[in-house]
């Protein structure tokens, strides 16, 4: 900014930001202190000791490790699906001519306003009739299908500035539509494809409602966390570990890719679901 620095704004913002992260600090401290010490509050310093007891016990008490790998696998598959299919479709919508092109495009990119509640009942009855409840396809199909509204929009927006000369040059060199996609467009569109992947990874890792309804035997971390937290035992230390384990991977990804996220969330809207 022009002129002198206004330190009072820095201090004010700093105080608010510090208050803001107290709940995060709260579960980290709760997970690391023996329950007897924090019975009157995790911030009290009457006696202070650090223990990893909850971090060690939690893996035996709850199927946290399996859920961790399962969540990672679901998120990876959903991310791969979207990263593969969305750029291909965006290319077709942007560079190729075919009947109903604009109508389909308008339908897909406007679907971003739909809440996930819309799919709950129809897909529940459909999966029940097809015996797909408890099959990972029951959540992967909606994860990937619901992502197209914003992922295709994001990649197509990028392609709008894609140099037409490259496409023309490929045509002259004898590339068909598909080899142009493979050799010209995809290698030069890695940044939006990557951004789409990051968003889809965060979203599918954090999904709660659909896996809770469509999966039975194996459940991803957010669903497990609600079960751990839903019991009436005083297991605050274990719950805190489960919460940290649930959020640590997407949080690291989010921190590393903040920039893409800020740009992408404008198109995805209500990014936290």
């Amino acid at each position: 900014m022009i002129g002198r620095i206004h330190w009072w704004t820095v201090i004010l913002v700093g105080v608010i930001a510090t208050i803001w992260v107290i709940p995060v600090l709260g579960i980290v401290v709760t997970s690391l202190r023996p329950p007897s010490e924090v019975a009157l509050g995790w911030w009290r310093l009457d006696t202070f000791s650090i223990t990893f007891s909850a971090w060690i016990r939690v893996w035996d008490e709850y199927p946290l490790a399996q859920a961790f790998w399962f969540t990672g696998m679901l998120a990876a598959l959903a991310t791969l699906g979207t990263m593969l299919l969305a750029p291909i479709a965006a290319y077709a919508f942007h560079f190729l001519k075919f009947p109903f092109r604009r109508l389909l495009l308008i339908l897909i990119i406007n679907a971003f306003v739909l809440p996930q509640q819309v799919v709950v009942i129809p897909l529940f009855t459909l999966w029940r009739d097809l015996k797909l409840i408890d099959n990972i396809a029951a959540v992967l199909i909606p994860y990937i299908g619901l992502s197209f509204a914003w992922s295709i929009f994001l990649v197509k927006n990028f392609l709008e500035d894609f140099p037409k000369e490259l496409i023309e040059a490929a045509k002259i060199d004898g590339c068909g539509p598909i080899s142009t996609l493979r050799h010209v467009v995809l290698p030069n569109a890695t940044s939006p494809i990557f951004a789409v992947g990051v968003l889809q990874f965060l979203w599918s890792w954090n999904a709660l409602l659909l896996p809770m309804l469509y999966l039975r035997s194996m459940q991803p971390l957010p669903v497990l966390l609600t079960k751990v937290a839903g019991t009436y035992e005083s297991n605050w230390d274990l719950r805190s570990v489960a919460a940290i384990v649930t959020t640590i991977v997407p949080l690291i990804v989010f921190v590393i890719f903040q920039r893409q996220f800020a740009a992408g969330s404008q198109t995805r809207t209500g990014a936290k679901e």
């Binding site: 966390l225 921190v255 209500g270």
Partner: protein
């Protein structure tokens, strides 16, 4: 014959036809050798199929089911608008509508206005406040379910809850069950949802404030404007476009809220924190009234579409 080939080639590439039929017969120089439309259909086929199953079919089926009475596995019975009549005569649902309105507006007003004010404050010292903006944006990277859990820890009903302890400094022995009292549960939820969501309005508004031309701000300084009046008369009006986007995103996000309600209150106490998005889940997935739940979903859908009209018009016009 030559002419029709020439026309076809010209149509596809948009390049004006040149004299000399021989050259125009070579599609490789002006268009694709393979037909475009079949290739395009091949490329979008997986997207169309998945989008059809995950979006189009559920959308149509939700509307269709809302006209049926379906309880569990019993055969569906056509009831016309019966479900909607029942919904609007159901005092629980009318209460849910009010809860949805308070939750949606409350969350949006709190998170957008807080994000906006903070963004303007940060703009007075952008470099020095970067770590603080990061701290607040990070809470946006924590999923709603985990955010809800973190706040359960802060809002514990006994003295081990930090909020009760802080109030306890002024009122000895204070212990309030924030989420157990129907009068405070919804506001606690609104506050937590705002806490969790403020990062996005902060970033959007900050970008909007940063995009104000430096010359405008310089001129204000030269004229001796105070920081508060710069905020009030320059930053606020000129960052409005960013604020509008933030408001829209927050409204949509609050209408579809589910995770945070499920984790923190489960819709209780006495259904005081149930929004329409939660009501449909409860009726259809725990009470197995699928038709009734579908009708509630359609009501949610109408609300979402109404607030999305400007965005839909904008996207449709931009789809080329």
């Amino acid at each position: 014959m030559t002419r029709s080939v020439a026309e076809a080639v010209t149509d596809r590439s948009g390049v004006p036809s040149r004299a000399g039929g021989g050259r125009l017969r070579l599609p490789a120089t002006t268009g694709w050798r393979i037909k475009e439309a079949p290739a395009a259909w091949l490329l979008i086929a997986p997207v169309i199929i998945l989008f059809g199953i995950a979006v189009v079919y559920p959308l149509i089926d939700t509307i269709r089911l809302s006209f049926y009475d379906i309880k569990g596995l019993a055969p569906a019975k056509w009831v016309g608008i019966g479900n909607y009549v029942t919904l609007f005569n159901d005092s629980t649902f009318r209460n849910t509508l009010l809860t949805t309105l308070i939750f949606t507006l409350g969350t949006t007003v709190i998170s957008v206005s807080l994000g906006w004010v903070l963004a303007m404050l940060c703009a007075f010292a952008p470099a020095h406040t970067t770590p603080f903006r990061g701290m607040m944006f990070v809470t946006f990277g924590i999923s709603e379910a985990v955010s809800g859990y973190m706040w359960l820890n802060i809002l514990r009903p006994d003295k081990a809850g930090l909020l009760n302890a802080v109030i306890g400094v002024f009122v000895p022995g204070y212990a309030h069950s924030w989420l157990g009292d129907p009068n405070t549960a919804l506001w606690a939820l609104i506050f937590v949802a705002s806490w969790s969501g403020v990062g996005l309005p902060l970033m959007l508004c900050f970008a909007a404030v940063q995009s104000i031309p430096k010359t405008v701000l310089e001129a204000a300084y030269m004229d001796g404007a105070k920081p508060t009046s710069i905020m009030r008369h320059i930053m606020m009006p000129l960052s409005l476009p960013g604020v509008r986007v933030a408001i829209f995103i927050n409204l949509l996000g609050a209408l579809r809220a589910f995770d945070i309600i499920y984790v923190m209150t489960g819709g209780g106490p006495v259904r005081a924190t149930e929004t329409v998005g939660y009501f449909m889940y409860r009726e259809s997935m725990t009470q197995f009234k699928l038709g009734y739940g579908a009708a509630a979903t359609v009501v949610l859908l109408v609300a979402v579409l109404v607030i999305s009209i400007p965005a839909i018009i904008q996207r449709t016009a931009g789809a080329k």
